[in-house]
Symmetry: C2
C-alpha cells in the first residue's frame, strides 16, 4: 500500500506542476454513489457557461453514463473507466490530460468514482477536493467517514429540498463537519430546486480568479 | 491484489465450514453509505425477535455508532473497525467470530462498510450477499456498479416512500437488476413507513429454515 501511494504521489506532483504551468485550477469532486455529483456538475457548468472555460474528467467503473450527461452540456469531457476500480489515481489523470488542451481552459473538474472512502486517499494533483453529501444519506456520515471530510476544502450538503422528509439534523451535521475540519466551507444545495447554486458557483469562480 | 484475494478466499472457506458446522446462516449486507442498511437491520431484528436467534457483526471505518444502535435492540453485536479500510474481509470475520457463540444462533448478519464497490470483491464465507439501494441514490446505480448487484442474491430498494420526490424510474431499475442478475430477488421497502418489511423478513426466515 505504501508503495502504491508513493508512486501515486510522484505522478500527482507532476500533474500539479502541469496544471500550474497551464494556469488551470483543478477540483477533485467526490461523494457517495447517488449523492448528486453529476447533477451538481451539470448545474455548475450551466451557471458558469461563458464565464469560465471548463473541461471535465468523469471517473466511472464501467459505463459512460455520466460522461454522456456532461457531453450534452457542450463542455469537453474525458471518460476514465476504472474497470471496477474504486477510485481515480494520479496516473489515470495524467493519461486523461493528454487529450485535453489545458492551455484552453481555466478550470478542470474531476468527478471521482462514487465512493465515500477510497477516493480521499489518492492525491491526483488537484488544487482542492470537494465532497458532496446528500441529506438522504444521514447526518452521521461525517463522523463515520472522516477522512474525506478532513481532506475536502468544501462540503456540499445536497438534496436539501428533501430535508423535511428525513431525520437529518442539519445543525449537528455542520457541527461535526466543523469539528473534523474547522475551515471547511459548507454549502446547502438542491440541484432540482436550484437552491444554493449561486453561492456555490460564486465560490468556485473566486477560486479560479484567485489562481 | 491476486495474493490478497487468494489469502482471503482461503480464510473465507474456513469461515464457511465453521458456519456450516454450527448450523448458522450468514448474510453479508452491503450498500452505499446512507442507503439504510442499519435501519433495515433494526427493523429486521425487531420483526424476527423471538423467532430466529440472531447475532450481528457491524463493520465501520472508525466509530461504533451503528453497533450502538444494534445493541439497543438487545441483539448481540460485535464491532469491527477497519481503521479506514473500505471493506470487511474474511480474516476480520474469523476474528470477530471468536467472541460469538455460534452454537447459540441461527442467523449471523454482517453489515459491511458503506461502499458500493469494494465489499463485493471480498468473500467473507457468507451464505449469501444482499445489497440495499436507496431510491434517492438514482436508478442508474445497478449498471454503474454492476458487480455488487451480480454478487447479491437479494436487492432491497429502500426509501421507497421518497419515490415521488425523485426521478427514480422503478421499472427501469428493476429491468437493469434482472438483466445483470436474472434470479435476483427484489424487495421494495420503506423502513420509516414499514412498507415491504414483512415480505423481506419472511424471505429471510425461509433462508434460515431451509438451512
Amino acid at each position: 500500500m505504501k508503495n502504491i501511494l508513493g508512486a501515486n504521489d510522484e505522478i500527482a506532483e507532476q500533474n500539479r506542476k502541469m496544471f500550474a504551468d497551464n494556469g488551470v485550477v483543478v477540483m477533485n469532486l467526490m461523494g457517495s454513489p447517488g449523492s448528486g455529483k453529476t447533477t451538481l456538475l451539470e448545474k455548475t457548468l450551466a451557471c458558469l457557461a461563458g464565464k469560465i472555460k471548463i473541461a471535465v474528467i468523469e471517473g466511472d467503473l464501467f459505463t459512460a453514463k455520466d460522461a454522456e450527461r456532461i457531453e450534452r452540456t457542450g463542455v469537453e469531457v474525458v471518460q476514465i473507466n476504472t474497470a471496477g476500480g474504486c477510485h481515480l489515481d494520479a496516473p489515470m489523470i495524467q493519461k486523461a490530460c493528454t487529450s485535453i488542451d489545458l492551455k484552453a481552459i481555466d478550470l478542470l473538474i474531476v468527478e471521482n468514482v462514487g465512493n465515500l472512502v477510497c477516493p480521499a486517499e489518492f492525491d491526483i494533483g488537484e488544487n482542492f477536493k470537494a465532497v458532496v453529501l446528500s441529506i438522504t444519506e444521514g447526518d452521521d456520515k461525517p463522523l463515520k467517514y472522516p477522512l474525506i471530510f478532513k481532506e475536502s476544502t468544501a462540503a456540499v450538503l445536497n438534496k436539501i429540498d428533501l430535508l423535511q422528509f428525513t431525520n437529518f439534523d442539519l445543525q449537528s451535521a455542520k457541527e461535526d463537519l466543523t469539528t473534523l475540519h474547522p475551515t471547511i466551507k459548507i454549502f446547502e444545495t438542491s440541484c432540482t430546486q436550484g437552491t444554493g447554486l449561486d453561492e456555490w458557483c460564486a465560490w468556485l469562480s473566486k477560486r479560479v480568479e484567485e489562481n
